[in-house]
Amino acid sequence: MKNLKVLSIALVAVLGLFAFTTVADKLVSSKTHIKFFSTTPAEDIEANNYAAVSTIDKSTGKFVFSVPMQGFEFPKSLMQKHFNQKKFLHTSKYPKAKYVGDITNLSDINFDADGTYTANVKGEMTIRGVTKPVTEDATIKVSNGKVGLETKFFITLADYGIEFNRGKPSKNIADKVEVTAKAEYK
């Protein structure tokens, strides 16, 4: 009986330890900024989103970004409406875009020591229900124990079934859109 008691205490202690490590290993950010930038001779278009959520698992290197698509704000109302529409991002059907990747050089990054690190991320982007591989470099900056991330890459709209063959959008929207993502983790 006494043994059982000791055993159960030990079990609780071990479980508690496990619970603690999982929490500590996961960095969560809901302080994010994502920017779309498209440039053509006709027009520069920019849209901003501050409502995405991101996580980095320090022990496995898993890196995730989940983006509510209707949160993109354009300077002009008409552009925003076009962006949301069925032929473009179809946001009422696909309200979220997601990036799921792995940091492939995890050993180069020390999340607990101040410094600037380059993370190589390999993964998949899902936009409008279409999933494509995206490999990118991200800059991870650790200062005073706070982890920040910044990355910039291009996405080809046609890869995700977004194509304009004629009309204004075909000459005002670039084929490749620059995406900048920033996050501060806790």
Binding site: K31, A51, S66, G71, K76, S77, Q85, K96, K98, V100
Partner: protein
Amino acid sequence: MSKKKVIKKILLVVLVLVVIGGAYGAWMYFQPHRDVQDTETDYSLKASDIVQEYLTDNQAANEKYLAADGESKVLEIKGQVSEVSEDYEGNTVVLLKSDSAKAGVKAFFTQETSAEAKQAKVGSTITIKGVIRSGASYDEDLEMYENVIVEKSKVIKK
């Protein structure tokens, strides 16, 4: 009518059409964003109710709340303040969520409405008005529940 007069008339009609078309195009192009606070509220509900609706049937909730052109439903949401923070732009973010709930409603405030929202006390109950951007769900990659996102918010009752 002489030929000249007919041509003159046609030209006049064409000119009027071009002006109307141009004005319409410009109006469309430069139309301002919808003022969410000036828009009539579509639904008034508790934070826990909309979260439950989303966790029960995500697709049905999306169909109910999200509009194809992005001008989705304007909601008044009442809930318990669980966290007050800032977004990347420095605007206030308030999470309305009861302690036992899996997910809540995250309200993003604007430059104009942030200062007031920042005063919200954790544990108190407030009502906010804003536009829904996305619903609540469990994300297996994030390994956590995502909150309902509401933007352009303003505190309407403390």
